[in-house]
Amino acid sequence: MSGPYARLPGWADYGLIPIINLLVAFAVAGLVVLLVGENPLRAAVILVEGAFVGGQNIAYTLYYATSFIFTGLAVAVAFHCRLFNIGGEGQAYVGGLGVALVCLSFDALFPWWINFPLAILGAAAFGALWALIPAYLQARRGSHVVITTIMFNFIAASLMVYLLVDVLKPPGSMAPQTRTFLEGGQLPKLNWLIEAFGLSVRSAPFNISFLLALLAAFGVWVLIWRTRLGYEIRTQGHSARAARYAGIGQARIIIVAMTVSGALAGMMALNPVMGDQHRLQLDFVTGAGFVGIAVALMGRSHPAGIVPAAVLFGMLYQGGAELAFEMPNISRDMIVIIQGLVILFAGALENMFRPYLQTVFASLRPRSAGLAEDRAGGA
């Protein structure tokens, strides 16, 4: 028997449910804070203030959010094709190689505004390439993309260690990183944007790739909902049989979706590599690829949800750092626990409160569910 389907209004589906999930996550996180002997309310205040009070904090929050928007979009595009791309971490890492190669080659020749588009291409191409192999294996050989992308994260990590230690490291240097890019390989900061609101920013890595992230979010919306390719991706994602019926080449669409996903993940590298550190370092991705999964889950794979979800996780990163600083009992690992709880409630348990809410809505406003009248009791 199919269960009854009471439709929730859009604002409840996309607004209320994530907020409820978030509140529950924070409530449970509060218990954990209580357990280590700190005041959860004070911790919450520090967390939020550390993320959103003062231009400096806001700039950092948005800097982190930029990375998460890219990786969140990457996961979302693959999700629409019902592919679980866990390889954002590796794709972003290899994407960094694309950025670095462009910057190392051209930073003395061109200004940043010529190198930026080239670096975008480099990042996207390398990220896409790193997704292409798992995609091909999934499409043609049926090797599950979850397994292969995880393994490709490790391969990427090893590859980059090799390259940074043996190939890209300037001679005589002790650090496994490339030389620092010249001005032509450095993205302008966006701190003036925050200062325009009358807030002061001392020094923060918030840079122009944030605008690119917003542009990418819009681009993903157009791609998924307004292009033929997006239509085919969604068809494949909802029903492989329907896609076959509609004459959509499954291998092709899987490869294309994964490639786009990898390209978006790769573009994440622009933010830390070209926007902040101005060199390629070991482990610069620092988990952003995995956070992207949570961001996509929480944002319901829709760009309009992904951007706020990315800001939320940016807040957890930035505010969490402040919290660890202010409350010595709360270590960096505690922040990871809080993030994990958010992921648990916003992602894995996303449907936990939905049935109750549907019942409440159905009883409050009978007409909101009235369209399903013919389906009652159907087999």
Binding site: P4, T227, S239, Y245, A246, I248, A362, A376, G378, A379
Partner: protein, 510 residues
């Protein structure tokens, strides 16, 4: 009147705003076969699910054997002596009959004694009710009719005095169905009570003592079967007079539009599903393929549509060959004038989470009329969808609504509108009225006849023999992957039924 085996008083059940059961009063006398008939979505299954404890009623009382009972779970129902045979069997496929029967009623940690007990009990049941099944046979090796018998045995083994059967004949040949009815009568003679849920009027007339008709969640009438007619029941079901017979003129067959020669199809395990099948469909005729579900019709249809690869064979579409063994793409075939209404609209014909207008272009989404460069021309798609909604009277008339929220009949109309409005040369249709209410069936049948009269070649696959007989100008019968006969149009249901059962398996079915 005998004492009531089941008495339902004032049962109400709502799912959100949907009132699935409204004030149902139902009395089933002990030792009778009671039919419950109604369209899909009339609330039959909901009512029986309440009786069997899957759902709890919002209000109302259940009396079993004269005593008021609260049934909160299937285990409560079983304890009251109610057994249910589901439409989709609940059997473990790689277990033996015996293992399935004792499943959930094992009794002790060690199986040995309970198995021995079960075996003798099973023998007694088989003797008493004529339910012969080899207790050591593996379920997946049994024909569907016997699997169903195992379901009945399971219920009886748990001491059921009241047996509910939900659409039991959907998967059976006419002969198997007849045999089932004989078993049901025998159960009745032994004092059991049977509740038969169906949407087939013929079965109600054939086997029940009393019949209750449900419509839109209400129980609208209860009749003694002997005192009612098919026409009256149909009218009660739909709420208006229905044309049960399809009106159509003589076929005027023209050119050969679809020719299939020696087509053989294997599934992924290498089992031959379609075996050396040849036939033609001409312009202006409907060729119906009859057969029990699972005899290769689905595979045949999917192969012709290019979805499944053929092992060997030749297919000609409108005079030109199609390579179905290589990579004939469903998209290419569509462009060449082949429209396909698939059997399974939920996973193949439609993408249920899509908006209605998005589904109205599925398969034709590459048509330049719907595109502006690589972008979807949303305005064109929606206005096109609105036209189809009007023409096919799809309700609700909202092209932005999620497809899952349309009823079965309206979903099917979305598919039909998409495929028929492309003016194809050949239309292949699988189970066009499965899960569709009577009113929509009438509409769909009429449209199919219209297509024929416009000179299209129509290939129709249906497990509803009545439908095949009503619509098809020629009938082919498939059994075990082969076309086993082309009975003349005036052939009786019994003759076609024998072909459907396959000559060799006739004894097994009997």
């Amino acid at each position: 009147m005998a004492e009531a085996a089941i008495e339902l008083v004032g049962i109400n059940k709502s799912f959100g705003a949907v009132h699935a059961n409204k004030d149902i009063d139902l009395t089933v006398p002990a030792g009778t076969i009671h039919g419950i008939i109604g369209e899909n979505g009339a609330g039959k299954s909901t009512l029986m699910s309440i009786l069997y404890g899957f759902y709890q009623a919002d209000s109302g009382e259940i009396h079993v054997g004269g005593r008021r009972t609260v049934i909160n779970a299937p285990s409560d129902a079983i304890a009251c002596g109610i057994g249910m045979v589901h439409q989709h069997f609940m059997l473990v496929h790689n277990f033996t009959v015996l293992e399935n029967v004792i499943l959930g009623a094992e009794g002790e940690p060690l199986l040995k004694t309970s198995v021995a007990k079960a075996r003798s009990e099973l023998e007694r049941l088989e003797r008493d009710y004529g339910l012969e099944v080899d207790p050591d046979a593996i379920i997946e090796e049994l024909p569907v009719g016997l699997q169903q018998r195992v379901e009945i045995l399971k219920a009886l083994f748990r001491g059921a005095d009241i047996l509910i059967l939900d659409e039991p004949t959907g998967v059976l040949t006419p002969a198997e169905a007849d045999h089932l009815f004989r078993i049901l009568r025998q159960l009745k003679d032994e004092g059991k009570t049977v509740v038969l849920i169906t949407h087939k009027l013929r079965e109600i007339m054939a086997v029940t003592d009393n019949v209750s008709v449900m419509r839109q969640g209400s129980l609208v009438a209860t009749r003694k079967t002997a005192e009612t007619t098919v026409e009256e029941l149909a009218e009660l079901m739909v709420g208006r007079r229905v044309l049960l017979r399809v009106e159509k003129g003589e076929a005027k067959p023209g050119d050969f539009l679809l020719s299939v020669r020696n087509l053989t199809v294997k599934d992924s395990r290498g089992v031959t599903m379609v075996d050396d099948v040849s036939f033609d469909v001409r312009a202006g005729e409907i060729v119906g393929i009859a057969g029990v579900a699972g005899n290769g019709q689905s595979e045949l249809l999917e192969t012709i549509a290019g979805i499944r690869k053929a092992e060997s064979g030749e297919v000609t579409l409108d005079g030109r060959p199609v390579d179905l063994t290589g990579g004939a793409d469903p998209g290419d075939l569509r462009r060449r004038g082949l429209a396909h209404v698939p059997e399974d609209r939920h996973t193949m014909g439609l993408v249920l989470p899509f908006e209605e207008n998005e589904n109205s272009i599925l398969g034709y989404h590459g048509d330049p009329a719907y595109l502006k460069g690589p972008f979807l021309d949303v305005d064109a798609i929606r206005s096109d969808a609105r036209d189809k909604i009007e023409k096919y009277d799809i309700r609700p008339a909202d092209c932005r609504l999620r497809t899952a929220n349309f009823s079965g009949g309206n979903q099917q109309k979305i598919v039909l509108a998409r495929e028929m409005e492309r003016d194809p040369k050949v239309l292949i249709v699988g189970q066009p009225t499965r899960g569709v209410d009577v009113g929509a069936i009438e509409f769909i049948h009429k449209r199919l006849i219209d297509m024929r009269d416009q000179g299209k070649a129509v290939l129709l696959v249906s497990v509803e023999l009545d439908e095949i007989r009503a619509l098809a100008d020629r009938i082919l019968v498939m059994f075990d992957g082969r076309v086993v006969g082309e009975p003349p149009r005036e052939a009786s249901e019994g003759e076609i039924g024998l072909l459907m059962a396959g000559v060799e398996t006739r004894e097994a079915a009997e």
